[in-house]
Point group: C2
Chain length 536, copies 2
């Protein structure tokens, strides 16, 4: 049914065959995704047996037994390293097995803290006979090293576990490697979010951007304003995130070195807020009378600012991160323009008929509110495009445009001295037939005209999974392994990972690892995994 495709398959197979010939010496060496900065592997391999395998703290480590982040990581990774053992079916008749210990050493403690923008995620890993040494500056780097070690272990046909002699020196290219979930257009059960965090950790993502509310629904259960979810959620009991749900998500993320960045987008994208907060939205007019429909938040009322201040006071205490996302995108002026009170406000403020000035005025106020709460704000690029005065530490996020437009925007924003995040090329909710991960892989975030200083203002990027057509039924297979392409671009050295063709067999392997770990990651192309997703 697809001859040309099959011919392409054959071509690809020949290429893969060639690769096997070239790398024949190391055919049993398993890779790490995303690619470490430096990795040296040998064909010398060591047999591992779960019965005599241990994870332990080095004597010189600042973190020791009792370190919450690493104690549970040791348990978690033991199961990931020995998947059969976890299911009770592994080889455990340890006849000729030598003990093997993965010794972890952390230079600074901080076991009870939260990961943040300044977290050091670098690590060194040396795998040799009987022992592997994992050295990291912080527990967050140790987590990344544990993940890499877990990916180095493989099983032969008899299901015995092996790891090859390996040296890794590794650190992320970008500090901010995010993934956005939209829980407003469809509600995502907490379990879907937790399992997304698991998969994020496997790909070394470190920021969960929670686009928690939007026009269609308001699932966040606010303690200050409970009516927001009582009236604005799809259902006030079954389709909400309680305070304890949020705490569970943040705790689960923390243990995986993942920050949770909440977004409460305004002044647009707030229709669902209006249901539980009277006089919050702008009433639209048809001629001289209200039309019955509503537009963005009403920026002319002082009550709006009081409300936002109260809400953000709550939100910034519930969410630990130093950053908060304020949205600020796609503000439609039609309704504001129709409203006589907004018109009067415009005149009073001397804004003329330039509604971007009204939007500016609103955003400045909100940015002041979050600044007063000691939070750094992230906003969508619109805020930069239409406004003159925004605090220097505000981070801009690029979400739209052709590749050329994106490059130009990167130049403009960094020239103005702002830090910037790139998400436009990684809108993974957009799907197409075939291997579209290739597009996500070939993005070059720093390929724009600018000084070295400007390039350094690119602090990372985000995969976005908007919810128009996505809920818990298709979230996982749509995200994974496509998001892994962005993960490698954000973590690894661009020059060493410039070839999509070389990435393909590695990603195919990694996808099978994800499936083995229970992540319903879709296939890249025809073929099979040793352990398929069972469908149950």
């Amino acid at each position: 049914m697809a001859l040309k495709m099959f011919q392409a398959q054959i071509k690809l197979l020949r290429f893969l065959f060639l690769l096997i010939v070239i790398y024949g010496e190391v055919e049993h060496v398993y890779g790490v995704w995303p690619m470490p900065q430096q990795i040296t592997q040998s064909t010398e391999r060591y047999l591992l047996n779960p019965r005599v395998f241990a994870l332990s703290y080095a004597n010189d480590s600042m973190a020791q037994s009792g370190c919450s982040v690493l104690d549970v990581a040791f348990k978690r990774y033991f199961k990931l390293i020995f998947p059969d053992f976890a299911h009770g079916t592994g080889r455990d008749k340890s006849l000729r097995f030598e003990p093997f210990t993965l010794v972890v050493s952390v230079r600074t403690g901080g076991c009870e803290g939260y990961p943040d923008e300044g977290s050091n995620e670098s690590y060194n890993l040396t795998v040799s006979a009987r022992q592997a040494a994992l050295r990291a500056e912080s527990v967050w780097g140790a987590l990344r090293g544990l993940e890499s070690f877990s990916q180095l272990v493989y099983q032969d046909d008899s299901s015995a576990y092996f790891v090859n002699k390996t040296e890794i020196e590794d650190y992320p290219r970008f500090q901010f490697r995010g993934l956005l979930l939209d829980t407003s257009r469809h509600y995502l059960p907490v379990n879907s979010i937790l399992s997304t965090l698991d998969a994020m950790a496997y790909s070394k993502f470190n920021v969960f951007h929670w686009h928690i509310v939007d026009d269609p629904s308001f699932p966040y259960q606010s303690s200050t304003y409970p009516d927001l979810s009582n009236k604005g959620a799809f259902h006030p009991m079954t389709h909400i995130y309680t305070q304890s749900d949020v705490r569970r998500v943040i705790a689960h993320a923390r243990l995986r070195g993942i920050r949770v960045l909440p977004e409460f987008d305004s002044p647009g994208h707030t229709l669902s807020w209006g249901k539980g907060q009277p006089d919050f939205l702008t009433p639209c007019y048809k001629g001289d009378v209200p039309s019955g429909s509503f537009g963005p938040l009403n920026p002319t009322l002082s009550s709006s600012y009081q409300f936002m201040s109260d809400l953000f006071k709550e939100v910034t205490s519930v969410f630990h991160d130093s950053h908060v996302h304020l949205g600020g995108d796609e503000v439609d002026f039609t309704c504001w323009k129709s409203n006589p009170k907004v018109q009067a406000f415009m005149a009073k403020m001397g804004f003329g008929s330039d509604y971007t000035k009204l939007e500016s005025y609103y955003m400045e106020n909100i940015l002041n509110i979050t600044a007063a709460l000691n939070k750094i704000s992230i906003v969508w690029q619109d805020v930069f495009d239409y406004h003159e005065h925004i605090p220097k530490d505000t981070v801009l996020e690029i979400w739209r445009g052709t590749p050329a437009e994106i490059r130009a925007e990167l130049g403009r924003i960094t020239l103005a001295g702002h830090r910037v995040l790139l998400s436009a090329p990684w809108y993974l909710n957009h799907i197409s037939y075939g291997q579209d991960w290739r597009n996500a892989y070939t993005v070059q975030p720093q390929n724009f005209s600018g000084t070295e200083q400007q390039k350094e203002l690119v602090i990372g990027g985000e995969v976005c999974m908007w919810g128009e057509y996505v809920d818990a039924t298709n979230l996982v297979s749509r995200l994974w392994p496509r998001a892994c392409a962005a993960a490698e671009r954000l973590w690894s050295n661009e020059k060493k990972t410039s070839s999509v063709e070389r990435a393909f067999p590695r990603l195919k392997d990694f996808r099978c690892t994800l499936v083995r770990r229970g992540i319903q990651a879709e296939p890249l192309f025809f073929g099979h995994c040793k352990h398929e997703y069972s469908g149950l």
Copy 2:
């Protein structure tokens, strides 16, 4: 992030609101998907309680207790009608509930048979106080009626079950409503197939077209030629269908009124066959020497025909259906042309340099083999396009072309007196962003130039889910609810289901029904189901 989209959403919401106003009288009447030929519903509704609800055989029914198909259907549908009861959480304190009985009457027996092309699937359903009467010619029609009844039952906010006074007279527009799964490009676990059969029955599909083998792998474990899967499957133990797996699939399908149509595609698409069957494939030549690669089946050897005859003898006894699919598509002549023995055979047969004659010769032989086994053959359209002499009862399946080309092909094939199946517009493995079910819905299978007699030769169509990018991880969410669009086109009256806009809210509801029944059907657009997919 998607303003225009949101404006479209608002427009749509307004339209839906209008619909609710128009149909306000019947707002609690739940629909049936696919739309029955005749349905009259009233707002008069009856409270149902699982404790006092029964399914039973009418006195005048030819099928009575002991009828395998209906006995298990009664159990199955009881659980589908009362989903909470099945989970032990339903209301069961039956205070003021009146007993309700669904009485089933079947005019002909045939409880132990298999559904086939001549099966009568028509039924009448009358729901009134205390009783519903379901009358069908055959058990297969009774199954369709049970499905419709199950979709009429709904729960109010207090979880009580209701059904409205309803009259349905129903029968399928097309006799053949198929769904193709490809188990060669990726192996699908048996459970995935069984659950696909479940979902097919919910949409009244009645043919499972099992594209069981192809170039990448040969998972069918043949008793005659075990090396085909021993050497041609992805794995000879874990990635195969044993004889008992096949029997399980056929039995599961039968109980749902679904035929299982096996496809063993040749002479192309047979690379995996060559691994377990020496001298089966044509060796390709580079100049005077074999290149080491192989092409289609070798049609010049009598051993090829003997092998195919033996294989089809087995296959047609394992699979019960009166039809068998022989493939016959996409034969690449390059390899045949390169091979000196094939060239010599061409000369001997007087085929000149017209390799379509060689293909023709091969297909005629294969068609004779299956005819001798008393099976009717289905082949892809290529066989009609390139060959002159094919038996009149051969069914052609259209899989490619623009809409205009498809209409022309429909005209040509039916003018030649052949029955025809349409699958080209329903290649659901092809995906795109947004609501692409709308394209599948608006297909008009009989909209081509031809006589009424020609139109009647269109016996149905098929949804195809080719496996290049699909395995058990994404099969379900990619198939459902998109396949439902084709299901309604193939079952329902085209004039009564011509509006995509009117179908939208019905399909949204039906998708929630599928999710409630455990089918991981993806959402059509933002919104929610009362019972979401749990992600577990």
